[in-house]
């Protein structure tokens, strides 16, 4: 027998390494068959001698080598392909694209990696319209399908052949080869995040199930990671926005404080100049008694104005350190109190019309008289200041539900733009408006009003529209 017969192993090994177990096995089988006419006649002639046994071994060797080498090659290729697929899946999931587009990419990778005919990747739950990616793309999810059932129950579905599986109702004639189906829930330990659906046509390589399970687990981890990354990005974005808003607000406050200092200086200087001037006149000149009395009234009025400014600044400093205003509560007839204040304002501001209405019986309230005065004065003062073209200032009060009293101050002034409403009760804030640019103020009035109302256990609300006027509602407990 020719020792050259072992040369058959070379092409067999080459075929196994190039084409895997099938090619190696086939070529090995052919090599074995080629040797049969050399081996069998020898056995027929001389019986089962040592040489004949060696011949039989060399006959069986090529197919065995082809199959074993091919299987090793297939296994190694499959591992490499799976590893590459896992990395590609990571890449697909990390892409900046809508989720269904990313899942289409994932499905294409899985299809290639597991040599499947069709792949579907569903992420989400049946309740919130899951995202679907597929290869070939364009698949859809129908309610009542196996994937839908698996998504709902988090249970796998296995079918050796979809066409002959009674659980499936398929349209059209059966294919000539079995169509294997596998649905695996994607669960990384924190609950099912979706399902991986795979269909194969024909024979499926051994170990495919385990590879599919590995990919499903990896997909679950990938989806969880992608979700975490997205959440982190969203959180970082929100944080960035918040920091930007806070910085902007700090700048505004800084600017407002600078403006405040300038206004305060001006507000203090004006009465001081008057006080200084009138006092100097009285000291240096002989002034007739009636003129002296007028000067003294001016001095008195300016001193009162100074006192108010200082009181507001003191209140401000208390607010800054978070101390509530000191209240001396006493029963107050709100109607009489408001009416008196309104009379004073009407006398000083003849360009505006003031109306006052009590809607129904009004109970007495327990409040600090001075604080209530300042609330009313600030609201009325604002109503007048921000109505430069005159108009009506309507004040009304009524008993509200749950033992509350509502005091309403309504004007027909410039109003407040909607975007500025949330910050009008902040300190130092003055809303820019061309018509009211000359109005003087510290930007403290409304923040003081809110602090005083809240100190009484009440609240203040505002309703306003730019160009149409504002309505302030003070709600106080009885």
């Amino acid at each position: 027998m020719s020792p050259l017969r072992h040369l058959y192993l070379i092409p067999v090994a080459w075929a196994a390494l190039r084409g895997g177990a099938r090619a190696g096995g086939l070529l090995g089988l052919m090599a074995g068959f080629f040797q049969v006419p050399l081996v069998l006649p020898a056995i027929e002639r001389a019986g089962l001698t040592g040489a004949a046994v060696e011949g039989l071994v060399s006959l069986a060797l090529p197919p065995a080598v082809g199959v074993i080498a091919g299987m090793l090659r297939d296994e190694s290729r499959a591992r490499a392909r799976r590893l590459a697929a896992l990395l590609e899946i990571e890449q697909c999931l990390a892409r900046e694209a809508p989720l269904p587009v990313r899942l289409d990419g994932v499905a294409a990778v899985v299809r290639r990696g597991l040599k499947a005919a069709r792949v579907g990747v569903l992420v989400g739950t049946t309740g919130d319209a899951p995202a679907l990616g597929s290869a070939p793309p364009g698949a859809r999810l129908a309610p009542g399908s196996a994937a839908d059932w698996s998504l709902t129950t988090a249970r796998p579905v296995r079918s050796a052949d979809l066409a002959s599986d009674a659980r499936f109702t398929l349209a059209g004639p059966a294919a000539p080869s079995p169509r294997r189906g596998l649905i695996l829930p994607m669960d990384a330990g924190a609950g099912t995040v979706g399902v991986l659906a795979l269909e194969w046509q024909g024979e499926v390589a051994a170990g495919t199930d385990a590879a599919a399970a590995e990919i499903a687990l990896h997909l679950a981890l990938g989806v969880e990671n992608a979700r975490l990354t997205m959440r982190q990005r969203r959180f970082a974005g929100e944080l960035e926005d918040k920091v930007a808003a806070a910085t902007r607000r700090l700048r505004e406050i800084d600017q407002a404080k600078s403006e405040f200092l300038s206004v305060v200086s001006h507000e203090l200087r004006t009465p001081l100049t008057a006080l200084e001037g009138f006092a100097e006149l009285l000291l240096t000149r002989a002034v007739p008694p009636e003129r002296a009395a007028r000067f003294l009234r001016h001095i008195h009025a300016e001193a009162r104005r100074l006192g108010r400014i200082v009181a507001e600044l003191l209140d401000l400093s208390r607010l800054e350190v978070g101390v509530s205003p000191d209240l001396k509560r006493e029963p107050i007839d709100l109607a009489a109190h408001v009416e008196r204040q309104l009379e004073l304002f009407a006398g000083v501001h003849p360009g505006h019309r003031f109306s006052w209405k009590v809607e129904g019986p009004l109970p007495a309230i327990r409040a600090d008289r001075d604080a209530l005065d300042r609330v009313l004065q600030n609201l009325l003062s604002n109503a007048v200041k921000y109505s430069p073209r005159g108009g009506e200032v309507r004040v009304a009060a009524r008993a509200a539900a749950d033992g509350l009293v509502e005091l309403r101050v309504e004007d027909e002034g410039v109003g407040i733009p909607a975007r500025d409403i949330p910050r009008i009760f902040d300190k130092y804030v003055r809303i820019a408006n061309q018509e009211t640019a000359s109005v003087r103020g510290l930007g403290l009035g409304l923040s003081l009003v809110r602090a005083l109302v809240e100190a009484h256990g009440g609240r203040i609300e505002v309703e306003s529209e730019a160009g149409k006027g504002s309505i302030f509602r003070v709600i106080l407990p009885v």
Partner: protein, 276 residues
């Protein structure tokens, strides 16, 4: 994608089909046909020819009928097709026995079967369709030719069997019989119906092993197989290789045709072997 769209009922089970009953009936008719044929055979004269024809038609027609019953899940259409094909087989066997070139009528059987089955898309499940890759036909022929050639070389070298076409007429008749009855019925039942059915449930190797075993049983029971031990051993090896090759070709190509061509090529070579 059917996993995403096809209606799915997890609790639904397959309804029992009348396949088993129909297979038993066909088996009984086959045995009846063979018994009747043998009785007629014993009568001698024209009865002998008629008996042999009935036996052949009963066996090959029965195989085709069983394949149809399995493929069409017991539908009544399978009975009509089977009866017509069996009738044609009977005619071919009779003509083969009565006329010198009568066996050539077997060549009409494959087109007749194709014609009878053309309106049944369900038969695609057993591979009754043209192969999507035409090259698979050549591969099938090559596999059959290789095995047949190998059989000839090994037999002549090992056992000194002659390779010769003693009579062109007899050779052509035998090849025609293989084309229209032997290879046709074997591929139709063992690779078409049985392998295709088991492949869907047991995977390739399980289905290939069992269908190959059935093929071997069919040929080992065939009285036409030479009785010499070396011939029977060789038959087991080559028929097993042919049956496995047929299963591989059926799975690879999706069609019965390449495996059928392999069988035809193998038997065409085998008919040139003078055993004994």
């Amino acid at each position: 994608m059917d996993l995403l769209t096809a209606p799915f009922e997890v609790e639904r089970r397959r309804r029992p089909t009348p396949v088993i009953g129909a297979l038993c009936l066909v088996g009984a008719l086959m045995l009846g046909g063979v018994a009747g044929g043998q009785w007629l055979e014993r009568q001698g004269g024209l009865g002998r020819e008629l008996g042999l024809a009935i036996e052949g038609a009963a066996i090959h027609g029965g195989f085709i009928a069983q394949g149809l019953v399995i493929a069409l899940a017991g539908r009544s259409a399978s009975a009509a097709i089977a009866l017509r094909v069996t009738g044609a087989l009977l005619a071919a066997f009779l003509l083969g026995h009565l006329l010198p070139w009568g066996s050539l009528t077997f060549l009409l059987l494959p087109p007749l079967l194709a014609h009878e089955c053309r309106g049944h898309p369900m038969l695609q499940r057993i591979g009754f369709l043209a192969p999507p890759r035409p090259v698979s036909l050549l591969v099938g022929l090559a596999v059959g030719a290789f095995l047949g050639g190998h059989l000839l070389v090994t037999s002549s070298l090992s056992f000194g069997y002659a390779i010769a076409v003693v009579s062109v007429g007899a050779y052509a008749s035998a090849v025609a019989y293989d084309i229209g009855a032997n290879a046709l019925s074997a591929e139709w039942l063992f690779r078409g119906a049985l392998f295709s059915h088991w492949w869907r449930h047991w995977g390739f190797w399980g289905a290939a092993a069992v269908s190959t075993a059935f093929t071997l049983v069919r040929y080992l029971l065939d009285p036409a197989l030479p009785q010499a031990p070396e011939a029977r051993t060789g038959a087991i090896v080559y028929l097993a290789a042919l049956a496995l090759g047929g299963a591989v070709l059926r799975a690879w190509s999706g069609s019965l045709l390449p495996g059928y061509l392999a069988s035809v090529a193998f038997f065409a070579a085998y008919r040139a072997l003078v055993v004994g």
